[in-house]
């Protein structure tokens, strides 16, 4: 990975929370669909952060070697069906250690009023050749 990409902000992504998507996600994680699973926020987080990091040619992330090492969510309020979210991600840090590379993405998700809904931090390891 290119360490000079540390600090990069990716373009904000608009993400509408649709009922069909929420129930599909709830089924996939074994919930009954009567509520929005708190980790549904992973979907907008990926659309703004991971997806853009993978597509970032200057960053040079080898997605097939990426393993998730840490994840953090801090919710200011629950996500609701019908929310129109604005999602923005930043490359918080890039490190190399012991033949592996480490990437941390920080994502802020806000509602249509600009109020914070959740802050996410995702730490990834790009595994070296084994």
């Amino acid at each position: 990975m290119n360490p000079a990409r540390e600090g990069t902000w990716y373009a904000p992504v608009r993400f509408e929370v649709r009922e069909e998507h929420v129930s599909r996600f709830a089924r996939a994680v074994g919930d009954d669909g009567s509520f929005v699973p708190p980790t549904f926020v992973t979907a907008p987080e990926i659309s703004a952060g991971l997806a853009q990091a993978v597509a970032d040619a200057e960053l040079g992330l080898d997605f097939a070697r990426v393993v998730h090492s840490e994840q953090e969510y801090e919710w200011s309020r629950p996500v609701r069906v019908g929310d129109v979210l604005e999602v923005v991600s930043q490359v918080e840090s890039i490190r190399t250690k012991g033949g592996h590379e480490f990437l941390t993405l920080r994502t802020e998700i806000r509602d249509a009023d600009g109020d914070l809904v959740v802050v996410a931090r995702s730490s990834l390891v790009v595994r070296g050749n084994t």
């Binding site: 996939a28 994680v29 929005v36 990926i46 994840q71 969510y73």
Partner: protein
């Protein structure tokens, strides 16, 4: 109904929630979350980075942990913070078991901080797909 602050004690164990992970689960999660990393779908790719076959998304395991916590809390909107470390792969057909324990209680905010984890048994050993997790919940 949301669990009441007065009904929670320090050290209290969160009832375990178990789930056997299938390829169908992982495919459904890839589709619903948008994480299409082939590490979770293609055995060859998984082996090329040192695993013995496809592994579940860490976030799938985290979502299962969340379901466990919500079952105890009685309120899907009461989870205010969750932080986890992924420390072991989960292979298809393995059974993940989520649990936790109450670490601290704040009477002013009526919130609790929990130690949380997910285990599985492999070759007679206990592995921790999630260890040293921390959750904060809003009690009633």
């Amino acid at each position: 109904m949301t669990r009441r602050f007065e009904d929670v004690t320090l050290g209290e164990q969160i009832p375990t929630l178990a789930k056997t992970v299938t390829r169908e689960d992982v495919n459904a999660y890839a589709d619903a979350s948008g994480d299409q990393n082939s590490l979770h779908q293609d055995d060859e790719v998984a082996r090329s980075v040192g695993f013995s076959g496809v592994i579940a998304h860490g976030m799938f395991t985290m979502a299962h942990l969340t379901s466990c916590l919500i079952g105890w809390l009685g309120d899907p909107t009461g989870l205010t913070r969750l932080r986890v470390q992924f420390r072991a792969p989960v292979y298809m057909g393995e059974t993940i078991v989520a649990s936790g324990a109450v670490r601290s209680l704040d009477p002013d905010t009526r919130r609790a901080v929990l130690d949380v984890w997910v285990t599985l048994e492999r070759d007679g050993r206990t592995e921790f797909p999630i260890r040293r997790g921390e959750a904060e919940v809003q009690l009633a």
